[in-house]
Symmetry: D2
Subunit: 355 residues, 4 copies
């Protein structure tokens, strides 16, 4: 596994910068014979696409995907699937300030420290625009795990959480926040609007659930399903925390309260609870696989923040470019994609070893 | 990277079961010429070793490590370092119940679902005993990153947290809880004793900090330092959550509050805060690298829990074998080891690409 | 390392089919700050390009490379370099026969046996056209190992070998055969013309030498420099044999005749011979690294050969499409590329471990 | 894949030096439920074991293997299988000369150039003794591919080849040379005896055939079955060449002579010849998979050879330690092991992708 590749058997490699001509992904190891077309991938990209509401960046990108290889007569051939998305709305001039000073909280300084220089246009490789390539690859992964349903939603924005009692899956795609609680969505509209107008930003928590995962996917000890999910989610821009099942809350429970008791069922054991988030010993249990992901507020804010120049002088920087007031919102389809990519890989790995 | 191997250039592979003759690790890719001996590794194993206080499992294991290869005249040769630890105190009879019923919350059912059967003695490969091999490998990693200091501590047990105002690094090794707050340590003594006597168990939160990491380690996008740390920590038994820097709390901050402003310093930029936990864009910033890890309460409790047999019948199981009342306590040296292993790998990866 | 990826730290992934819209490579792990442009890559592609003489396939492809990512202001940034080459002259109609019968010696049957179906247009993924992507990636690799000079030539066509006494490096690029022996080049003109006109094909042997490789690249035991070179060369279409140094001839020498005696030199040991091809114990010795590669005659011939249809019926097939009468000729720049790719990876690996 | 690990899904890692306390292999990714015991592995080690005739090194090693993990109740559990072989007959004093001067043709100088120093006892990690670990791992691989039969033999020693007309598989284990031609075996007895008494050494060519490999194992383009075999065989000590099928001879055939024509058969296509060695496009065709491997004469000879000291002074060295007069002989069981290891990995990879 190299710097820009993820997966063990079902693998994808992404490439591209925010303001280069294009970005893309190469998906390798995909089983042959699966139906796949650009039309099947595009809807996933459209959910992540910027510029669809005033609550996301105003950069206008059609994010139209092209399949350049690996598909013949509408079916995957088993050879690498090359996916390309052209960058259209680049406006590089917006980013001239970024060349002259490090944006605190962004990767600017770290890239310079590592590589000696950087592509400063829109964050270059560190831009969240890369997640479009993941979402495209994730759409391929979904074809590999047709038995699994994956659904992500936003649980909390700026500390304002949904009420679990109001959870309604139908709502998720009915508002611009992927919010399953209609009342919370109304509150968030005000909240995010305020942040947007103030040039501020808000953090968010995204939850994701995969149902239909059979018991037995995952492996000890460094290919554990939860370990892979943690790596996948923590690799997304702005993510600072990952929980499986009850996560940090489990650390405050007793063994009795945290027990996932079982009873016989017609189709294998039934569990009375799912504190574990569908994973035990790194292997799926047949229950829904659950992950929660914390997105920090983006560091692109209008308030000037003290910083330094590449030359080492003190200065201030305010981020005037287009950006998301709450980057976690568009994180929901990205977390879904990472869940799909991990599960597809684990399915094939399981098949490799256990037939 | 395979099932039981971790790392990209500095890699280790662990093997062994709780009740087999031995367990161990093979460390590959270690730079040559580093001083290494069994005496240098043993102290790290001794910190993790069970049976040292009444707050850990009473299994008595000397955990004496042998170096079988890769060291000549007291120095690493650059070839694989094979580390072996013999199992001494196995008492397999304690585990006969485990063969007859799945322990809820343990890997028993998941292993059977995956592999068709399992080594049920002490959890087999899923036992936390495997972490001894990680700690031994971690001691080798420390020799690779001599410029880095790593320190882990327990921040919370059973929901009872330390008071940051009382943080005293000297305390960490002065009590059986790796607790930096002397007063919290006193409270935990009562708390863990109660749980132990009741045959119950408690969760815990472990924090770990690495200082001395230069800016520039890590890489986009799937070899991000935070992604690697998340994978490493989530692969530890009983871990259900990982945070970098402010973690989930960052999701409740505004962009202004979360900003890590910089000013010029004599030795590169100085940061006014470290919300990011020393990592931006997946690359170290030169600040302390900080991770927090949630351990669930172990599922080994005396209270009978409803479960099923491998044959599918309803039954109950109570865990009478020796176990840790709070497995997170001994997690502290394990998290330290994983931090060292990730950083050693990232150091070498950085050297590979950036000279 | 996955199906279509090669390398450990400096890695490349290729994608694309003979008759798809494009093919390409993603190069990951490239050091930052190296000068790179399309103009620097194109000459290597031009050497491999078809249609430049009557001795290669008449498919006319400009093989113009585009850099889509990883380069900023004319220098590599350290992020993935995406290289794309559009297919222009596809004439898919030529290949309708191939859909109806397996071409013996080609991958047709094997692909169907593996994947259940195949992209039959021009061999799909199994086409030698994929080697364009390798050559593009190889040009990037050369920038990584500027201290090394790599030169390949054709040593033998159809059993007619060069005379080592006539070896003249200047000749290599002075004829369409990459032949260092001007007289042999004249003979080959006749030989290959005959084969071409008869619709037959010829095998060839390509030699490649890298000078300037310092002692110390490579590693025991499964990252040996010779093992990597063997894998790299054997992965090229039509290759059936690989030799390092004296290769099979060494198996007929005594230990005395095969000895590479050393004497002191001003710049490390001097070797009196180089039977070993510059590699001992899998690690470079500082002598020229030498590899020889056997290319079979392409199976695309006009003579009808008995075969079967996908349905299992007996038939015959003659290959009328455009093809190389001696595919080994254009193998020379491909072997050069693979040598560069392996050495770049080994250089970075050595730097990772040995600083 | 790291320095001392081979394979993608079915992977093994070897460790150990010639004169350390032990050597071994960790096999990861083995399917669960396979019968495995030390008794099943030992016969393969016994075939490779030194000291069994006067034609091999006189070092006396029982090469008794211990299984330390991954097997429970006589079956593989799916977790890592740790195999250990203790070194018994080490006589380190024999190798004092080697510390003081580089043996030409050995890895001595290359190791020093790479690592700065080396374990000079018996060649340390570069000793052919490491192949014992491969053979043990190979025995596990055989259990994974029970449908495949693998047989290697020596085809040529010191330039004296077997007569294919005399090929008798029964003979292979009936003489100390793994020679299928009884008359050649008699000649070799004289030949090798002469070399042994003269303190000289001879090269050899080993052939290996796997029958029962179904069509469809292998993958484009860098996981090609032939590419993997080439890497595997070239990683064996003293190997300088690898051929698949007709190998270098194919480079001298025309396309007509090299054609592997097919006709319908009851069980898939029948092939009229097998020039390709059972592999087309990197994927198995269902025919026997054939590889030939060239072993150089060992560089350990009694005749003094000019060399240099680590300090750079001129000297001579003669190798007086115990060694094989023809290291290729014991190469036969090692090539078999590598064939088994590659095929096991490819079988599981095929299952991963193609179900």
């Amino acid at each position: 596994m190299s710097f820009n590749t993820f997966g063990r058997v079902f693998r994808f490699t992404t490439w591209g910068e925010s303001h280069g001509p294009a970005l893309g992904a190469v998906v390798d190891g995909c089983p042959p014979g699966l139906a796949l077309s650009e039309d099947a991938i595009q809807p996933f990209l459209d959910r992540r696409r910027p510029g669809t509401s005033r609550f996301t960046t105003q950069r206008r990108e059609p994010d139209a995907v092209r399949i350049l290889s690996g598909v013949f007569d509408g079916r995957t051939t088993g050879t690498p699937i090359s996916l390309m998305i052209e960058n259209i709305d680049q406006r590089s001039k917006d980013y001239s300030d970024v060349a002259r000073a490090y944006r605190p909280g962004h990767a600017d300084y770290a890239y310079d420290a590592k590589y000696g220089f950087r592509d400063y246009r829109g964050g270059g490789r560190s831009s969240a625009r890369e997640t479009a390539a993941r979402v495209a690859a994730g759409a391929v992964a979904r074809a590999v795990i047709a038995e699994v349903s994956i659904r992500a939603w936003v649980e909390e924005i700026g500390g304002d959480a949904i009420d679990p009692a109001n959870f309604d899956a139908e709502q998720i795609d009915a508002n611009p926040f992927f919010c399953p609680d209609a009342r919370a969505a109304q509150r968030w509209e005000v909240l995010v609007d305020q942040a947007r107008k103030a040039g501020s930003s808000l953090g968010a928590i995204v939850a994701c659930e995969a149902t239909g995962v059979p018991a037995g996917w995952g492996a000890p000890l460094y290919a554990k399903l939860d370990s892979e999910l943690a790596a996948a989610c923590m690799s997304i821009n702005a993510v600072k925390g990952v929980e499986i099942g009850d996560g940090f809350a489990a650390a405050r429970l007793t063994g009795e309260d945290n027990a996932d008791a079982m009873r016989p069922g017609s189709d294998g054991p039934q569990f009375l609870a799912n504190h574990a988030g569908g994973i035990a010993g790194g292997i799926s249990t047949g229950q829904p696989v659950r992950v929660r992901v914390a997105f920090k507020p983006t560091s692109s804010i209008l308030t000037p923040v003290p910083t330094v120049t590449p030359g080492g002088a003190a200065t201030e920087i305010a981020t005037k470019g287009r950006h998301d007031p709450c980057v976690g919102i568009r994180g929901a389809p990205v977390v879904e994609a990472m869940m799909a990519l991990v599960l597809a890989d684990q399915k094939l790995l399981h098949r490799a070893q256990c037939g």
